[in-house]
């Protein structure tokens, strides 16, 4: 088994420049091992979401180093970053962000089709498999906007899993869900980490959620405090 960390962050700094320069991240360093379920907590405005978007490779305006599966992403071209996102990162957002025009199944399949390693039929089988794991198989042919919030979030997780990513990142994935659905999502994440040995990095302000993860990173004022 490969021993490189799934994710390694070395001295990342970032400032917002509009209208005046405000530093948001100060010398942030952290690492996430394979199969580790990590949560990031902190007060509103402490920079945890900003950090997450840097780690996701979508935000490239920072200094420092971010290594995903040992590959440095700072300075890589946008096409390569898109490939990394497609192949190695699964995303779950607070707002479920499914494509309303597509069916549930198609939503889950899209990143797999984009990756293009498998035929459409295989991707479809994979997608059904993920949906089954999340108890959503019976909803597969519904349109995305016909689902409830909790169901949408499970579909989003299924989509994040379609390419067997190295790491799953979540920005308040339970922030918009009730207690029961939050519980379901947590159990799914836990299972992904322990059974499938995927890394998870979840930003949350839910202290109860964070306390049950393998490790909690606490941020304050742009720094990692614990």
């Amino acid at each position: 088994m490969n021993n490189t960390n799934a994710l390694e962050v070395v001295k990342v700094n970032k400032s917002f420049h509009d209208p005046v320069t405000v530093p948001v991240l100060k010398d942030v360093s952290l690492e996430v091992r394979r199969g580790e379920f990590v949560s990031v907590t902190g007060k509103s405005g402490c920079g945890k979401s900003t950090l997450l978007y840097i780690l996701s490779t979508m935000d490239t305006d920072y200094t420092g180093e971010v290594l995903i599966d040992g590959e440095a992403t700072a300075g890589a071209d946008k096409g390569r970053l898109a490939e990394i996102r497609n192949e190695k990162i699964g995303f779950v957002f607070q707002f479920h962000y499914l494509l309303a025009e597509f069916s549930v199944l198609r939503n889950v399949m899209l990143p797999g089709l984009k990756l293009g390693r498998k035929s459409a039929a295989e991707v479809e089988a994979d997608a059904m498999d993920r949906l089954r794991q999340l108890d959503m198989a019976d909803q597969a042919l519904k349109m995305a906007n016909q689902l409830s919030g909790g169901q949408k979030q499970r579909v989003a997780i299924a989509r994040a899993l379609i390419n067997d990513p190295l790491i799953i990142m979540g920005d308040e994935p339970t922030g918009n869900l009730d207690k029961k659905n939050s519980e379901i999502v947590f159990d799914i994440f836990d299972r992904i980490a322990t059974e499938h040995k995927r890394s998870l990095l979840i930003v949350t302000h839910d202290v109860d959620f964070a306390s049950r993860t393998h490790r909690n990173i606490e941020m304050e004022d742009g720094r990692v405090v614990r």
């Binding site: 979401s49 979508m58 996102r85 497609n86 962000y97 494509l99 025009e101 899209l110 990143p111 984009k114």
Partner: protein
């Protein structure tokens, strides 16, 4: 790329109404473009045909002109060895002779031309001035002796006969076909006998065997036709007496160059079709420019329609764009999706436009259009040349591509972080 197109089609289906509006815009402009150009060019062909069908590509003739060299000048030249530049000669005793109108060795020229591989047809003519005697008045007219069969075949002579048969002219030695205006003035009907006087005073009786109408009133008032033999007899000239040789070429564009060549070779005057009808060429060009300009403007307008709708669509779909990018679609992929979307709208609109354009052309083609000036025309003319369809499609795809490119580029540059965090 297949995946991107399928995504584009899904978005299109979700926004069916707007997409249809955009496609209808393209369709409308293509319809108008095809219809307009077909109609305009149909008219052009008709108007050109009015003159050009009946006009030889090259006409060989002898122009009546004053002798370029007067005896007094030649005398001076012989004595002094140079042209006289010191004085102006008022004595111009050599006048043009009517005999000059005759083409010398006309039959020889015709035989030579008939062997030329560039030549489609050689038709002789004999043109003379005559008077028709109506009561106490003499009507001035021009009689053309023609080879009826060749004129029918190559110069559409039969098309312009509104009464009578061209055949009769060929078989009857005393037959004459009168222009409509001329016949009206003489109140002559088919079968009537008219008296004609030549410039030299010879008289003859001719039987009216037909009436023709060219569509040009002034021409119809003075023109009449008879067989070439009839006119030769009328003028008491031998069978070799011809005034014009009309040449049709296989390739009309060679006319000006060949006219110059023939003029030099046979020492005659040669008039080519482009020089003779320069004004028609100009008219055709101007009409073409106008119809293309209108067509292109229509397409540009529909391009703006696509641009607007696509911009709106992208604004509405910012979330989807962000999520596509977050899950690994690159900016280029997003651009291609929206470009494909635009092209689909353009292609569907263009296909519909071609179909409707064809239908519109058919409708116009069946609208009755009867005018005194154009005896052969029953309905509005249409040119169904596939060229215009091809131009329309090319332009439509080009405009939709350009109209789609700018919004698509904007979509490609959407920053997903801003959208996702902005919620």
């Amino acid at each position: 790329m297949r995946l991107l197109i399928s995504i584009a089609l899904t978005i299109l289906r979700a926004k069916l109404k707007q997409s249809i509006v955009a496609a209808v815009g393209v369709m409308f402009s293509i319809t108008m473009f095809v219809t307009l150009l077909g109609f305009m060019n149909g008219l052009n062909d008709l108007l050109d045909g009015l003159i050009l069908n009946r006009t030889p590509h090259i006409r060989l003739y002898n122009e009546l002109k004053a002798s370029p060299e007067q005896p007094i000048a030649r005398e001076w030249q012989q004595q002094h060895g140079a042209a006289d530049t010191s004085a102006h000669h008022f004595i111009r005793s050599v006048k043009p002779k009517s005999e000059l109108q005759k083409l010398r060795n006309a039959l020889g020229i015709m035989r030579t031309l008939e062997k030329d591989p560039r030549v489609l047809d050689v038709t002789p003519r004999l043109v003379a001035q005559v008077f028709f005697n109506v009561g106490t008045t003499d009507l001035n007219a021009q009689i053309s002796g023609i080879e009826v069969e060749q004129e029918v075949r190559y110069y559409m002579f039969a098309d312009y006969l509104v009464q009578g048969e061209a055949r009769d002219l060929a078989t009857d030695n005393n037959a004459v076909v009168l222009g409509k205006g001329l016949a009206d003035m003489m109140e002559a009907k088919i079968g009537d006998v008219v008296q004609v006087t030549t410039a030299t005073g010879d008289r003859a009786l001719l039987r009216v065997s037909g009436i023709f109408q060219s569509g040009i009133a002034d021409y119809d008032k003075v023109q009449c036709y008879a067989s070439i033999r009839t006119v030769q007899e009328l003028l008491s000239r031998p069978g070799s007496y011809l005034t014009d040789i009309n040449v049709k070429l296989k390739d009309i564009t060679m006319a000006p160059a060949m006219a110059r060549e023939l003029a030099k070779r046979f020492d005659v005057d040669a008039l080519d079709i482009e020089t003779a009808n320069a004004q028609f060429e100009t008219g055709t060009k101007v009409r073409n420019i106008i119809s293309y300009a209108v067509g292109v403007v229509l397409l540009v307008v529909s391009g703006f329609g696509i641009y607007n709708i696509l911009n709106m669509l992208i604004y509405e779909k910012l979330d989807s764009i962000a999520i596509l990018k977050a899950t690994g679609f690159s900016g280029g992929d997003v651009r291609r999706i929206f470009l494909a979307l635009s092209m689909v709208i353009g292609a569907v609109g263009a296909a519909g436009g071609l179909l409707f354009g064809f239908v519109m052309q058919h409708i116009i083609d069946n609208i009755p259009f009867v005018t005194q000036a154009l005896p052969t025309v029953r309905t509005f003319p249409i040119d169904y040349d596939p060229k215009y369809y091809l131009i329309a499609v090319t332009f439509a795809l080009l405009t939709t591509w350009i109209a789609g490119w700018f919004p698509a580029r904007k979509a490609a540059e959407v920053d997903p972080v801003e959208i996702i965090r902005g919620k």
